[in-house]
Amino acid sequence: MDLIFEGIIKAFYLLIMLDSEVLGITLLSLQVSGTATLISLFIGISIGTLVALTEFPGRRFVVSLINTGMGLPPVVVGLLVTIFLWRNGPFGFLGILYTPLAMIIAQAIIATPIVMGISLAAIQALPKNLRLQILTLGATRFQMVWILIKEARLPLLAGVMAGFGGIISEVGASIMVGGNIKGYSRVLTTATVMETSRGNFDMAIALGIILLLLAYLINLVLTQIQQRERLR
């Protein structure tokens, strides 16, 4: 129990003193997971909406695949991305293994099905007549899709939170493709693992608390937007 207390004190100490290493690690966590979330939003919402609005043979199979993808194990993604990015792997010529970019790729792969699955459910939950109504009012197909996405923005925001939450707290893939390199690809979760194995439990708890604070702040902003929209 003392350890947790010490960890909390250490976390605040690190934050107040603006410890440059911890600050760098925190910022990198935000950049990597933020960028990966943006990418996953772009791909996830487009494909999710497309699948929600179209009929094609094998659609149920595709939906079940997307839903399974929501539980994609990060270590498996990490392993596959590593194999692809190895120097003698198919994308080895890029030379991006053990860089923040590789972490973004892995995290985007983890977050995309989450965003996709939630978008799919959100768009599907809109009343069927809404589509016809929008079209009869003279909207083009593109405008109709845009209106539907706007209409479903509240559950879509939940998708953003789920995707971001899933990857900022993820460690398996990040440590494999990023390598936890000091001052370069070390993020909050991988640093926590390392400090734990070094026996610096107070530091590990401090990093954990900073991670929680960060996740809370981001979700606070998103929730503010989400709930303000609700009142309109």
């Binding site: 933020g34 053990y98 970019l101 936890n180 000091k182 390392m194 026996g199 937007i225």
Partner: protein, 279 residues
């Protein structure tokens, strides 16, 4: 609303990512968890980087995985402690210039109660036999690391194969985590002295057997063979290996940890022969 959100991220991302250094200037170092967990690399790597301008990407894994990375040319230079496997690695042409860097030793740790009564035994083999005969819980790294390799060698030297015994469990984790598990489960385990000293404050384990010549833990630096893999950063690997055996580095190793733990964690050995150690 969504636009505002994207703006928010855009601004955040403007803080540029750490400047990525060109491939020529970066070195991929595959090493063991003990060199990272003990904190030695945190001191050596920045010194090396300041001196040479190279950027070192340190990947801390078990010695077995480090050599597997070298074999697939996923690393430029290795700092490992699994001599027999290393010799094979070099003999098969994957690595060149295997040079002795430093040593410390393995120690047999166990709970304070010491159910197998091995405290003070100097012969590691005898201690292992006693643990086996009393069915006392033993935790193995089980991860093909240098420590795991040494442990398997010891069991084999005793003529035992504990692999399927009930009292023999494998964590599959790094040294630091295995020590924590061993401490919690009150079990015996084999550890390198450096990691043990670094973590000692949180552990309820004591050193029971030490000082046997078979328990030496020897670290070598190996460059991945550029003749075999032309794409490795051979110049960088050479620079790092030279740095590890240089006089100044050896002096840092000699004093590393003295202020914090009262005794050094590693003993510098550059230029010596492996056979001379422990005598």
């Amino acid at each position: 609303m969504i636009k505002r959100l994207i703006c928010f991220w855009g601004i955040l991302l403007l803080f540029s990512f750490p400047v990525s250094t060109g491939a020529q200037k970066s070195i991929l170092l595959a090493t063991t968890t003990s060199t990272q967990d003990s904190g030695l690399l945190d001191i050596l790597i920045p010194t090396f980087e300041n001196k040479t301008g190279y950027f070192v990407k340190t990947i801390a894994v078990g010695s077995g995985q480090a050599m597997a990375m070298g074999q697939k040319r996923e690393a430029d230079v290795l700092l490992v402690h699994s001599p027999e496997a290393e010799k094979k690695f070099v003999a098969m042409g994957y690595g060149i210039n295997r040079r002795l860097v430093m040593h410390n030793d393995f120690i047999l740790l166990g709970p304070l109660e010491d159910p197998a009564k091995i405290r003070g035994l100097r012969a590691a083999r005898e201690a292992f036999k006693k643990i086996a005969s009393t069915d006392a819980l033993f935790l193995s790294r089980g991860d093909n690391s240098g420590t795991h390799f040494k442990e398997k060698t010891l069991w084999r030297a005793c003529g035992l194969n504990p692999e399927n015994e009930k009292w023999y469990q494998q964590t599959g984790l790094g040294m630091g985590q295995t020590l924590n598990v061993a401490s919690e489960k009150k079990s015996y385990t084999l550890a390198d002295r450096g990691t043990y000293l670094a973590l000692k404050k949180n552990l309820s384990l004591s050193i029971l057997t030490e000082g046997d010549a078979i328990l030496l833990n020897i670290y070598h630096v190996i460059e991945v063979n550029p003749a075999r893999w032309p794409k490795v950063n051979a110049a960088g690997a050479r620079a790092f290996a030279d740095f590890m055996v240089s006089k100044e580095t050896q002096e840092i190793i000699r004093t590393f940890g003295v202020d914090k733990f009262g005794s050094p964690l590693f003993f510098p050995d550059a230029g010596k022969k492996e056979e001379e150690l422990g005598k």
